[in-house]
C-alpha cells in the first residue's frame, strides 16, 4: 500500500551533514497496525514525515498504491494530507483559538470553500459530533484545548485525524506526553479504530509497552530498518522484559 524505497534524508547543521535516513526500505500493508520503534535520533519521526508528504526525501521514493507521492506538486500533496492521511502528534497540536468541535472540523474547513462548506456543513458537523462521541468527549465539545487534559487533547487529535475518513493514520509518539493509563487508553482507541474502521495505522513510538498491541513492529537504527517482525515467523520481542499492557 505505502512503500518507502531507498529513502535518504540529510540535514546540514553548520558544516556537518547528518544522515537521518540512510537508504531505508519499508512496506506498509493495507489494514495493518504498524509500530516503528527505535532510539531517539534513529529517524522514526523523519520517516513518518516523508511517508505523509510533510517533507520530501533527498533520495529514494515513497509510493502509495504503486504511484509516487514524494514528488507530487504542492497542491496534490496538500490534498493527500487532507484526505488520505490523518496525523496524530505527540504534542496534540490543536489550535488554541478554536473549540474542540472546531478543531475536529478543521480538516473539513481546509478541504472546503466557503460555499461548499455551507452546503455540506450539517453532515460534517454530524460526523464530527459522532467522532467526538466515539472518543468519549461529547461533554467537552465546546471547550477550548487549554481546558482539556493531555489525554483528552490527544483523543481530540484522533477524532480530527479521522474526520476525513483517511486511509492511513500516521501517529508520531501519540502516548509520549501522557501517563501510562492515558497512553493505554489512546492505544486501545487506535486499535479499535484500526479494527472497526479498517484504517491502516503507522505509529512511531519509543514506548515498548504499547507495541505489543500492534500487528507488526519495525525497529530502526541509524536511519535503516534493522528488525521487522513480519520478516520471520518469530514475533518481535523487546530487548528487555516489558510489563504487559492492561486492557488493550
Amino acid at each position: 500500500m505505502l512503500t518507502a524505497k531507498n529513502l535518504c534524508k540529510f540535514y546540514r547543521r553548520h558544516a556537518v551533514e547528518v544522515r537521518v535516513l540512510n537508504g531505508l526500505n519499508l512496506e506498509v500493508r493495507t489494514g495493518e497496525f504498524l509500530s516503528i520503534v527505535g532510539a531517539s535520533g534513529s529517524g522514526k519521526s523523519t520517516l513518518l514525515h516523508l511517508l505523509g508528504t510533510l517533507d520530501a526525501p533527498d533520495a529514494g521514493e515513497v509510493r502509495l498504491d504503486g504511484a509516487r507521492i514524494d514528488n507530487l506538486p504542492g497542491r496534490a500533496r496538500d490534498a493527500l494530507r487532507n484526505r488520505t492521511f490523518g496525523y496524530i502528534f505527540q504534542f496534540y497540536h490543536l489550535l488554541p483559538e478554536l473549540s474542540l468541535l472546531d478543531n475536529v472540523l478543521m480538516p473539513a474547513y481546509i478541504g472546503h470553500s466557503v460555499l461548499s462548506w455551507w452546503q455540506t456543513r450539517a453532515q460534517w458537523r454530524r460526523r464530527a459530533t459522532d467522532l467526538v462521541a466515539k472518543v468519549g468527549l461529547s461533554h467537552r465539545i465546546k471547550h477550548r484545548p487549554r481546558e482539556l487534559s493531555g489525554g483528552e487533547m490527544q483523543r481530540t487529535a484522533i477524532a480530527r485525524a479521522l474526520l476525513m475518513n483517511p486511509r492511513i493514520l500516521l501517529a508520531d509518539e501519540p502516548t509520549g506526553n501522557l501517563d501510562a493509563a492515558a497512553g493505554s487508553e489512546i492505544v486501545r482507541l487506535l486499535r479499535e479504530i484500526n479494527r472497526e474502521e479498517r484504517v491502516t495505522i503507522v505509529m512511531v513510538t519509543h514506548n515498548l509497552d504499547i507495541v505489543a498491541a500492534t500487528d507488526r513492529v519495525v525497529r530502526m537504527v541509524n536511519g535503516v530498518v534493522t528488525e521487522d517482525t513480519s520478516a520471520g515467523e518469530k514475533p518481535w520481542q523487546p530487548p528487555f522484559p516489558q510489563p504487559r499492557l492492561a486492557a488493550v
Binding site: H49, L54, F89, L95, P107, Y109
Partner: protein
C-alpha cells in the same frame, strides 16, 4: 473556509491586533477631518473669491480707464465710447446672448482717512466706483451688505434717517468743540480739483426733508471695526458708524496728482474674506469719475454670464476682439484668483501626502505586529499544513487578517472622523477653554466657525488607501508564514 474562520478568531482573540486597528483608525480619522476642513476652507474661500468678483473681469492698467473706440469707418475720426456705449457694444456682439449683466466700475488705490477718538487714522484701501444697481446685477455685492442685504430692490448709497441724524449730531459736536467761528466740515466732496463735483445744495429742501445728496460710501467691515480681546472674549467695536465722515484720497485719472473727496458711511461690506473686508471701499461711480477727472470712463467691466462653465471661453474670445488693446486684461474669476486657488490646491495636496504618512506608520505597526503574530503562530501554521492547508491558503489567512484589521480600522476611523467633523466647533471651543489658547483664532481666518465639507469620494479614497496599505504591509509576514516548512513549524518551540 478555514481562512475566514481563523481571520475572525484571530481578530477576536489577539488583542495585540487592536493596536493595528487603532493606528489605522487614527490615520483614517485624521485624514477625513483634515480633508473635510481643508475642503470646507477651500469651498468657502472659492465661494467668497467668486462672490465679490463677477464671472469675467475686463480690467485695464491705464489710470484713465479703458478706451474703446466707436466703429467710425474713418480711423482718424473714431471717438472713445462711454462705459454705457461700451456695454451696449458688448451686448450687441455675439457674446451678448451669453451675458446676463455688465457693470462698469473704476477700481484704483486710495487712502482712507477718518477721525476716531480725536486722532486721524489713515488706511490704504482699494476704492471701487460702482453703479450699485448694475453692480448688484452681476452678483457678489448686495448679499454682502450688512444693512441692505435683506432690503427689497437694488442697493443704494443713500443714508438712513439714523445716519443723517448721526451726521447732524457730529456736526453739532464739532461746532461745540471747535467754537462757532470755525466752520463745520462741509458735506459732499471737499475737492479742490477743477473737475470737482459741486457741493450739495444745503438749501434744497423738500417739505422739510433733505434730498439725499450726501455721497455715501460702503466700507469693508474690517476697515470700520476693530477687534480686541477683553477678558478672553473677542470684542468688536465700530470705529466708523453710518453717518460718520471719511475722506478718500487717490490719484487723478488723467494726470498723476492727489485728489480727494469726503463721503458719509452708509453701509458695510462683510464678505468674511479678510482681504476684501480690510481693503475694499465702494463709492458711487459718477463721484469717483468726477474726483479723478475721468468722466465717461471706467477701468473695469464686471460681467456675469448666463452659463459660466459653458460660455466662459467663447465670451472671453469675443471680448478680446472688442477690447483689442495690450493694456486690457480679460480674465475669468478663476484666472483672476489663479495663484490663490492654485495655492489652496497645492497646500491640500501636500497636507494629504504628509498625513497619509500617518497611515504609513499604521502600516509599519501592522508589519511589526503581524511579524510577531506569525512567529507566535509558527506551530499553528505547521498544524494547518499537516492537515492539508496550502501555502496560498496560509498566506490568505494573514492577508485576510490584515484586510480585516484595515477594514475594521477604516470603519472605526470613518465613524470617528465624521463625528469629529460634525462636532469640530464644539471640540475647538472645548480645547480652547481647557488650554486657554485659541485653537482657531477667528480674527485670523475671519470665519465665524471652522468650515467643513465632507466629500464622499475623498472619504472613499482615504478608506481604500488605508485598506490597501494594511493589506500591503501584511503581505511580507503572510508570505513568510506561507513559506514556512511544516516540519520546522511543528517542531518550533
Amino acid at each position: 473556509m478555514y481562512k475566514l474562520l481563523l481571520c475572525v478568531r484571530y481578530l477576536q482573540t489577539r488583542y495585540l491586533a487592536l493596536i493595528c486597528i487603532v493606528s489605522v483608525m487614527l490615520g483614517v480619522a485624521t485624514l477625513i477631518v483634515v480633508n473635510a476642513v481643508m475642503s470646507g476652507f477651500s469651498t468657502k474661500l472659492k465661494d467668497r473669491l467668486h462672490g465679490v468678483l463677477s464671472d469675467i473681469i475686463v480690467h485695464s492698467d491705464r489710470t484713465d480707464g479703458i478706451e474703446v473706440l466707436d466703429d467710425n469707418p474713418d480711423p482718424h475720426k473714431r471717438r472713445p465710447l462711454t462705459p454705457e456705449q461700451t456695454v451696449a457694444k458688448i451686448m450687441a456682439s455675439p457674446a451678448g446672448d451669453m451675458i446676463e449683466a455688465i457693470s462698469p466700475t473704476i477700481d484704483t488705490f486710495a487712502i482712507l482717512q477718518f477721525r476716531y477718538r480725536g486722532t486721524v487714522i489713515a488706511k490704504p484701501v482699494q476704492v471701487i466706483g460702482i453703479d450699485p444697481a448694475s453692480r448688484a446685477r452681476v452678483g457678489g455685492f448686495k448679499e454682502f451688505l450688512v444693512r441692505q442685504r435683506d432690503l427689497p430692490g437694488a442697493p443704494t448709497f443713500d443714508l438712513t434717517p439714523e445716519a443723517r441724524q448721526r451726521h447732524t449730531d457730529n456736526v453739532k459736536q464739532y461746532t461745540l468743540r471747535e467754537g462757532a467761528n470755525v466752520p463745520a466740515p462741509k458735506l459732499g466732496p471737499l475737492v479742490k480739483d477743477p473737475n470737482a463735483i459741486p457741493e450739495p445744495d444745503e438749501n434744497a429742501m423738500t417739505g422739510g426733508i433733505e434730498k439725499p445728496q450726501l455721497h455715501g460710501i460702503i466700507l469693508g467691515f474690517a476697515l470700520a471695526h476693530y477687534r480686541f480681546d477683553q477678558d478672553g472674549v473677542t470684542v468688536e467695536e465700530a470705529m466708523l458708524k453710518p453717518g460718520d465722515n471719511v475722506r478718500i484720497t487717490t490719484a487723478g485719472g488723467e494726470e498723476l496728482k492727489p485728489v480727494f473727496g469726503d463721503f458719509l458711511v452708509t453701509d458695510y461690506l462683510k464678505t468674511e474674506m479678510s482681504e476684501y473686508d480690510r481693503n475694499f471701499v465702494y463709492v458711487p461711480l459718477d463721484q469717483l469719475q468726477r474726483i479723478r477727472g475721468m468722466l465717461g470712463r471706467a477701468t473695469s467691466f464686471q460681467i456675469k454670464l448666463k452659463h459660466y462653465d459653458r460660455d466662459k471661453v467663447a465670451v472671453s474670445r469675443e471680448l478680446a476682439k472688442i477690447f483689442d488693446s495690450p493694456d486690457v486684461h480679460i480674465a475669468t474669476w478663476e484666472q483672476h484668483q489663479g495663484p490663490l486657488l492654485a495655492a489652496i490646491d497645492v497646500e491640500r495636496a501636500i497636507l494629504n501626502l504628509l498625513l497619509f504618512m500617518i497611515v504609513g506608520v499604521a502600516g509599519f505597526s501592522i508589519l511589526a505586529i503581524f511579524s510577531m503574530i506569525v512567529s507566535e503562530k509558527f506551530r499553528d501554521i505547521g498544524i494547518m499544513k499537516s492537515l492539508g492547508a496550502s501555502n496560498w491558503g496560509v498566506m490568505s489567512i494573514f492577508l485576510g487578517y490584515g484586510l480585516l484589521l484595515g477594514t475594521v480600522g477604516c470603519v472605526a476611523g470613518t465613524g470617528l472622523g465624521l463625528w469629529i467633523t460634525a462636532n469640530i466647533n464644539e471640540i475647538e471651543m472645548f480645547l480652547s477653554k481647557q488650554t486657554g489658547v485659541a485653537v482657531f483664532p477667528r480674527d485670523v481666518y475671519y470665519f465665524k466657525e471652522i468650515p467643513t465639507n465632507v466629500e464622499p469620494l475623498r472619504v472613499a479614497a482615504v478608506n481604500a488607501g488605508a485598506v490597501l496599505i494594511a493589506a500591503a504591509f501584511s503581505l511580507l509576514p503572510a508570505w513568510r508564514a506561507a513559506r514556512l516548512h511544516p516540519v520546522r513549524a511543528l517542531r518550533f518551540e
